[in-house]
Every structure is written in C-alpha cells, then in structure tokens.
C-alpha cells in the first residue's frame, strides 16, 4: 500500500519500480525469525544459550537474536513495524505491551494459551495477567519479579540493626537508625533508605506502598487512586522523609541504585539487577520483602513480555509459538531463572530446583506477593507520569488531598482515551 502511495505521489517512479519487492514469502522451507530483546548481561548469555538449543533441535527454524536496549526497542519497533520490517518476536517491558497490542501490532496468543503443549498452564498468575489486553492474550512473560528491598549488610551491622524490619513502623525506625549526619549540616552523609520519587523503579515502589495500605491505582476502567488509604500512605511516607530525612528526595530509580552502590544508602528497593550491581561495587547485600503495610504485604512486580508481531507469516507465527513453549518448558524455566536471577515463571518449579542461586531462592519465596503493574492499561505513559507528579510533589510537601484529586482526574482521562 505504501508502495502505491509513493508511485502516485512522487515523480521518480522508475527508480522505485526497479527497486522491486523484497520481503520473503510463505513458501515452505526453513523459517527464519528475528527476536529483539534487551537482555544485555548474564541474562543475555543464558537467553542466547536457550535460543541456540532451540535452533539446534529445530532444523526447520532459525531464530536470530538482536540485542537492543530496552529504551531503544520502542523507537526501533514502531518504525520497523510501520514498514513491515518488524522482528518476528520482541521482548519489552510489560507495561509497554498493551499499547502495541491495542494498536494491532501483535498476534493474539489465545489459541496458543489454549494449547496444552504451550507450557502456559502453570504460569505465575500475576505474570500471565500482564499479557492480557481487553480479555485477549498477546504475550508470554519472560520475567516477573516483585520489587524487594536490597540492603547493605555491612551498614546494618555498623548501625546496630540486627533484624530486618517487618512493618512500616519498623522500617522507618530502622531507616532512622541507619541515617547518619555526622557533620550535622542537615544533609545526611548516609541515608537509611533511598525511596525514589519518580521514574523507573519509583513507578513500582509507590504502587507497592499503596497496596500495602489497601489502596490501588486502577480498577478495571476506573481510576481509584484518590482514596483515603492512599492519602494516608502518602502522608506517612512524606512525613518520614521530611521529618527524619530517612531518604533523599528528588531521586529517580537510577539515582537510587547509584546511592546504594556507592554505599550511601543502607537500603534500596529494586529488582534482581541490584544483586549484580552490588557485587560489582563490592557491597555485601541481602534481599528481603518490602515490609508489610497496615493492610497487607504486597509488592508491585517488574515484568518483561515477549510477543509475536503481525509482521509474520503463519509459518513464522507457528515457529515463534514453538519457541515460546520451548522457552517455557520446565527445564528451560529453571535454566533461565538460574541464569537471569529472576524467579521461575512457573508455579510448578520446585523451590529446590533454584536453590543453588541464593538471589533467585529469596526472590522465589516472595514471588506470590507480586502484582503486575497496570496490566491491560493502554495509555500507561500518562498514568505513570501522573503518579510521578503525585509522588514527587507529595514528597516535596505539597497538599496530598489536592494532589490525589489531580492525579485521579489525569489517570481517569488516560484510561478513557
């Protein structure tokens, strides 16, 4: 269709005609499939290993992986899809899936899920929920991990905190104890905890805190952020940050990781990558669940989804599904989990299968407390920026009720879009 438009639109037709057609067809033969992902560390090596195994065991299918950054997958995927040059398979942050699915970029996987051979029956329910948009499944999870607290055991010892806090009050108390302002200039040299107030991990931290007090952000089609529970949560934490300076303000998730890796914060909230960052920076760490709120122990989960794009022939789609079920097999689930440091995606993987990796073991214990972030929300961009604005301003001391009212309106508008 684009080709036609050019021909009618531009005079230089001959060159275009000569350029001819490119994309290959459906005519049997071996299927080649491109797979874009952003796994750049040890997880990338394991993924390559699984892909190699798959290619070796499937003569008629070859999967080529293409490493991108998670950020640039968005930029490149849209342009590639616009010209029918998209990859067959793509992995992306889970909250990015709904918008692509809603615009028709991905093939429906409902039939795949219905097939017993797909290995999807025992997926962690929260992980499977990330893949659903308007009642239809468009992806398969490649990662689902609740946010957890990563803490510096040396600083805990030095500060005399022996037991990891179990409740919010204990958490604040421990943080206070671990905050050090030696020169008394009002700017601590060491913070008890770093609670980012916007971007990346902050997008999961604050929802976790909201859940802990029985609040939520979105319920189906409705924004429910303006609730007394959430007001309480925001007040509790902005008071703790302002009064006791247990955390710096104005930090984003990346800044939080840097403070922790520089030994300037005793606790941070993050995902499995914190383990490797801590190791690289020579920090002795341990992992614990986010302390329970007054209502429950809950954590927002970070997810990654894999989807099959519409730039695939039916043979390629079948090949992609073949790979997805291969990836989700019990054996590969264990291999992937151990190598990537993320907990297994299947509930039927026994704990002892992943016991050799202590990070995975501790994350697996808390896996069931994880809740997907904004599953099925198409315009997550605006919802997340409303949450950013809310938490940043609340931490800076603005009136919580007004802020919640504004956030409610913005989120509702984003949902109605």
């Amino acid at each position: 269709m684009t080709r036609l438009r050019i021909l009618t639109g531009v005079g230089a037709t001959l060159a275009l005609l000569a350029a001819g057609c490119s994309s290959g067809g459906d005519d049997g033969g071996p299927v080649e499939l491109t797979f874009w992902h952003g796994y750049s560390e040890a997880d990338g090596d394991v993924l390559e290993g699984i892909v190699d195994d798959f290619n070796a065991s499937h003569d008629d299918i070859t999967i080529d992986t293409e490493l991108k950054t998670w950020d640039s997958i968005d930029d490149t995927l849209l342009t590639a899809l616009s010209a029918g040059e998209g990859p067959g398979l793509v992995a992306m942050p889970a909250e990015r899936l709904p918008v692509y699915a809603a615009k028709g970029a991905f093939a429906s996987l409902d039939d795949f899920y219905a097939d017993e051979a797909s290995n999807t029956a025992n997926l962690v329910p929260g992980a499977a929920a990330m893949e659903e948009v308007e009642g239809e499944k468009f992806g398969v999870p490649s990662g689902f991990v609740p946010l957890a607290v990563y803490y510096n055991t040396a600083l805990f010892e030095a500060g005399g905190v022996s037991a990891f806090p179990q409740t919010w009050d204990e958490w604040v108390a421990a943080s206070k104890q671990l905050t050090v302002d030696e020169d008394g200039d009002g700017t601590p040299e060491q913070y008890g905890v770093v609670l980012p107030d916007h971007a990346t991990v902050a997008n999961g931290l604050w929802p976790s805190l909201f859940y802990g007090n029985g609040g939520d952000i979105v319920d189906g089609e409705d924004a429910v952020i303006d609730s007394p529970e959430n007001a309480e949560t925001l007040e509790f934490w902005s008071d703790a940050i302002a009064a006791d300076q247990i955390s710096p303000t104005g930090v984003d998730g990346i800044g939080a990781d840097e403070l922790f890796s520089g030994g300037k914060a005793a606790m941070t909230v993050g995902g499995p990558w914190m383990a490797s960052i801590a190791e690289e920076n020579g920090i002795d760490y341990a992992i614990a669940p986010i302390p329970a709120g007054p209502a429950e122990q809950a954590a927002s989960a970070i997810g990654v989804s894999m989807a099959v794009t519409v730039d695939t022939s039916s043979a390629e789609q079948a090949a992609a599904e073949e790979f997805l079920s291969f990836f989700l097999s019990e054996e590969n689930s264990v291999k992937w989990s151990l190598g990537s440091g993320w907990p297994p995606l299947r509930t039927d993987v026994p704990a002892e299968a992943v016991a050799e990796n202590p990070v995975v073991a501790s994350l697996t214990e808390i896996a069931e407390t994880g809740r997907p972030l904004l599953p099925g929300v198409v315009n997550s961009v605006d919802v997340l920026s409303a949450i950013d604005e809310l938490t940043q301003k609340a931490v800076a001391g603005e009136d919580v009720d007004t802020l919640l009212g504004e956030a409610q309106a913005e989120i509702q508008a984003a949902l109605d879009d």
């Binding site: 080709r3 342009t79 990346t200």
Partner: protein, 284 residues
C-alpha cells in the same frame, strides 16, 4: 630566543583591557572545557572512584578497564568504520549537491528562486521525529534497510548547506567569472573552475559541520539500522546502558571518548585552515 623576545615585546604592548579580556577568555575557556576534561579523566577512573565523595577531576589511580570494557562489549572498530562511511559519505554527497543547488540560487537569475529558497529553508522547520516514520517506510520500500545507501541517501543534500553556500556564493564578486564567460565558458565550467576553487573555505566549513552533525546523530542510525553491525559509534554507545537504565559512568565516558577522538583529530587536521579561513565564508 626570538620567541621569548617577541613574547616579551608583546607583553609590554598589552593594554589593561587586553589583559582583562584575556583573563575573561581564559575563565570562559576553562568552564567550556570542563565537561571535556571530565569525560577524558572519568574514562580512566576505576569504578570505585567514579561515584566517590569528595569527587575529584583526575583519577587517583589510572585504569584502562573502562576502555577495555567498551572494546569488548561493542564491535567498536566496525562502528567507527560505519561512522566514517556514514558521516563521510553524507559529507561528500552533500557538498556536491548543496554547492550545485546553491550556485543556481545565488548566481542564476530564474523565476521563483526566492520562493524556492524559502521552501528549502522551511524543510528544516519540521522536527525530524515527525518525518522519521514516513521516511523509514520510503527507504524500506526502496529495499535499502540496513544498507549504507539507505543510511546515506536521505542526507545527501540538506537545506542548511544549500542556504549556507548560497550566502557565500552571493558574496563572491561578480567580476570573477567575467573573463571565463568572455572565453565562452558555460555555467558549469564557471561553477567548477571559478566559483568552487574560490569557495574552498566555505566548503571546508560546511564539510566540517556536516561531518560532525552526522557523526553525532543518534536517532536516524539508531532507528534505521536494526542490525547492530550496521550501527554507528554514536548509536552503538546506547548499548552500554545496563539493566534498568543504569549507565556505568566510567564505561560511558570511555565510550564517549572513543566517539569523540576521531572527530577531534579530524578537526585538528583541518583546524588551521578552518579557523583562519573562516574569514571568508561570506555569511553576511
């Protein structure tokens, strides 16, 4: 000896205002060069020092780890080669096509040239993000995805260059081509053997701008090349971003250094002619 003597003489001749101006320029230059210095020195800092407090400009211990990590994580020779092909290819074509067009706009009287000039400049006023998708579709329809042709062709002429050279050509005295015309030289010969040789400083300047801008361009090579082997060093640097968006500063600075050094070398190479000859680029 004579250098010293002349320096002394020049120092004696210095007026207070010149001294003040020199001091001002020195401080401005120091501020201007500080980010460059931080890139260079951080590239050689070990990981532990990068986020240390109190911060320091120079590393305590110098290390090559960061550079090694860049060279091991990126096919950096290939990327630099691609950058040279992309920026260099664009520069060569753009200089030829822009100067031809600029010549017509400046020195041939034809109906509608003012409107045409405004239309050409107007193409600069739409953000690239807006035309990226239709452009990519077009290049894909031409079958040029992941080819050097596809990377270079869309930049082979550009409005800024045409306008820049037009201004220069306008300023060339009109008599310079009279003799050649008397000998019966046609428009193209006047262009090639009279106007172009006189335009060397302007071409050099524009060439440098074009080369630098394309070398540093991120979005187009990033989006256009879905194959990492086809990327440029600038787009390749994004791959140094770690999980969760964390960029290890030392490694990133080392990567930046690798990306800048060829440019600075290229710049120093033409610097003398460039800075001195800028005299006559004729934008006035």
């Amino acid at each position: 000896m004579s250098v010293l003597a002349s320096t002394r003489r020049r120092l004696r001749e210095l007026r207070p205002s010149t001294v003040l101006a020199t001091l001002a320029l020195l401080s401005v230059s120091a501020v201007v060069l500080l980010p460059i210095a931080i890139i260079v020195f951080t590239a050689f800092k070990p990981a532990g020092e990068v986020n240390a407090f109190p911060p320091s400009l120079m590393p305590d211990t110098w290390t090559l780890d960061n550079l090694q990590e860049v060279t091991s994580e990126l096919p950096f020779l290939r990327l630099i080669g691609n950058s040279f092909l992309f920026a260099g290819g664009v520069t060569v074509f753009a200089l030829v096509f822009d100067s031809l067009a600029a010549y017509a706009l400046a020195r041939i009287d034809f109906a509608g040239r003012k409107v045409l000039l405004i239309a050409i400049i107007a193409t600069l006023m739409i953000p690239f993000q807006a035309t990226l998708i239709p452009l990519y579709q077009l290049v894909a329809d031409l079958g040029w995805v992941n080819t050097y042709t596809g990377l270079i062709a869309p930049r082979a002429a550009d409005a800024f260059g045409i306008f820049f050279l037009r201004q220069f050509f306008l300023a060339l005295p009109r008599d310079i081509d009279a003799a050649a015309r008397m000998d019966g030289a046609g428009e193209f010969r006047v262009f090639r053997s009279i106007v172009l040789p006189n335009a060397m400083p302007a071409l050099l300047t524009l060439g440098l701008f074009t080369f630098v801008n394309n070398w540093n361009d991120l979005l187009w090579p990033l989006v256009f090349t879905t194959d990492a082997e086809m990327g440029t060093i600038t787009s390749g640097l994004t791959l140094l971003t770690g999980p969760s968006g964390i960029v290890p500063h030392g490694v990133m600075m080392a990567g930046s250094l690798v990306a800048i050094v060829p440019l600075v070398v290229a710049f120093l190479f033409v610097q003398r002619r460039f800075i001195e000859n800028i005299a006559t680029t004729g934008i006035k």
